[in-house]
Point group: C2
Chain length 300, copies 2
């Protein structure tokens, strides 16, 4: 069975379409790699590229991406709203099928080492690949941004995992890691009272005592005049969709409010939905290998 | 995106392992075809083979299967509990992904014509490929079995769709068609009262007034001392899992009985489970293309 791993490199270029195209084209030259999506934001001056491949093709393709970024992006003259530390700013590896988190951590290390050796770019490992707890969180690693890198690296606590303890003059540093797929999941409430959505969000998110792998906030859908609990699920295996849905439903009931619907924004791993079906249908002994499409892929 | 079509040929041989092996091997010689499963039953003297491929590879592989079956299986000396009309008895085509039922009907016609021309075997089209309503149902087409074919074919109502209006001396006739995937789905009740399972089964099955695409009966799980509603879902798009589950739950409640669990036997298309998640999570505007694995396959 072919292993499927996703990577979502973020590059610090969202305006010059020729540079973005060169970066995407470079990824596509490696056989076995498929570019799934490219989102460029001019205000952020940043592009987010989704690609899939295996343990051999992904690092090869990403090195080609670094090549283009190092040549064409100079952070000394880069402006944008989104925080960034490098020309290729962040590279997470995400296990999709037939691959484990450990595989993705191994990939992050391999790529980090290769980037440092080949381009003299310092590399930090983050999230599941982090080498110390204080380096897990992306925001902490990136704090100070490109402009603050030289000073940050003088602190032994922030010595890079690979490469020189000084930023690359134009390309800064790279932050490479491994994490679970993110699911953007919103639950719409049958009320226009934003306060209720905010209270429910507070109840389910990790930062204020809720589920370990949930980020959430209350927002207003102005057109529909509905309050929404807007959620980021950061590990659907450990905090599953159905549990969050049922908790929001129960919390909303306490205000006499119903759940009118929910929505998934962007891509979702099949497993996250199949787990929900498994729960609500009360399946006994269901094995993901009973899914026909998976059986097909395994027989490839 | 590659089209994925499944075929589940049933051959009238479940005892001689060398013949079964030769049949399976013949299918495997065609590139693009994957044999997913082989189930042989000695009492039935029959084997059920599951394979997947596309519109080009599947008919090529199935013709090779007919070649082996015509050479090695002689129905004049065939005995077994399961009704059969041919050496290759039944061949359904099933749309899985990127293919429509119309594609599968087209495939059934192409294979039927080729089998008739090449082997002088009369062919009936059944289910979605049937050329008249009285030929839809497999059991009706097969009634009379191999031994009754000569007489049956004299009736203009039962003139074969392709080939001579007389059975092949040793290989009989073939019944080729198109249908939706079957899902074997059982719901376990918190009672040892078989009568309750039987009544619920009667309420949900098509033949006694229930859902159009449900076959069901009540059975006893002796070891667990639980009554079970044992279901065949013949079209999960039109009669979905969640509706049957909820109906069984509601009917059971009327007897004060709870649903303790359900089970899927064998393979299930991802879509059937994703549809259930869609229902229970009250998803709004969910598009199956948001499923990551599908996006991956589409980009192949």
């Amino acid at each position: 069975m072919p292993r499927i791993i996703e990577s979502v490199p973020n590059i610090s270029e969202g305006r010059r379409s020729d540079v973005i195209k060169a970066a995407v084209d470079a990824l596509g030259t490696v056989s076995g790699v498929r570019v799934l999506d490219v989102q460029s934001d001019k205000d952020h001056n940043r592009s987010v590229i989704s690609l899939a491949g295996d343990e051999e093709s992904l690092p090869a393709a990403l090195l080609k991406l670094f090549e283009v970024a190092v040549e064409r992006i100079d952070l000394r003259s880069h402006e944008g709203e989104h925080p960034r530390a490098g020309a290729v700013d962040v590279v997470p590896f995400i296990p999709i099928e037939g691959a484990t988190m450990a595989d993705c951590v191994g990939l992050a290390r391999r790529l980090g080492q290769a980037v440092a050796e080949r381009f003299q770019i310092p590399v930090y490992l983050y999230e599941e690949a982090a080498t110390a707890p204080h380096r897990r969180n992306l925001e902490d690693v990136r704090r100070g941004q490109f402009e603050g890198l030289a000073e940050k690296m003088r602190d032994p606590q922030w010595k890079p995992d690979y490469g020189p303890a000084a930023p690359h003059p134009s390309a800064g540093a790279a932050i490479v890691g491994a994490r679970m797929p993110l699911i953007a999941y919103n639950i719409n409430l049958g009320t226009s009272d934003l306060e209720i959505a905010k209270r429910i969000a507070k109840g389910i998110r990790h930062s204020s005592g809720g589920y370990r792998h949930v980020k959430a906030m209350g927002v207003m859908l102005d057109e529909r005049k509905l309050a929404q609990v807007s959620i980021n699920m950061t590990d659907f295996k450990r905090t599953p969709l159905h549990r969050v849905f049922e908790t929001v439903r129960s919390e909303a009931e306490r205000y006499g409010v119903s759940v009118v619907g929910s929505e998934i924004v962007g891509l979702v791993p099949a497993e996250a939905l199949i787990d929900a079906a498994d729960h609500f249908l009360r399946l006994e002994n269901f094995n993901p290998r009973q899914v026909l499409e998976r059986k097909l892929r395994e027989s490839e």
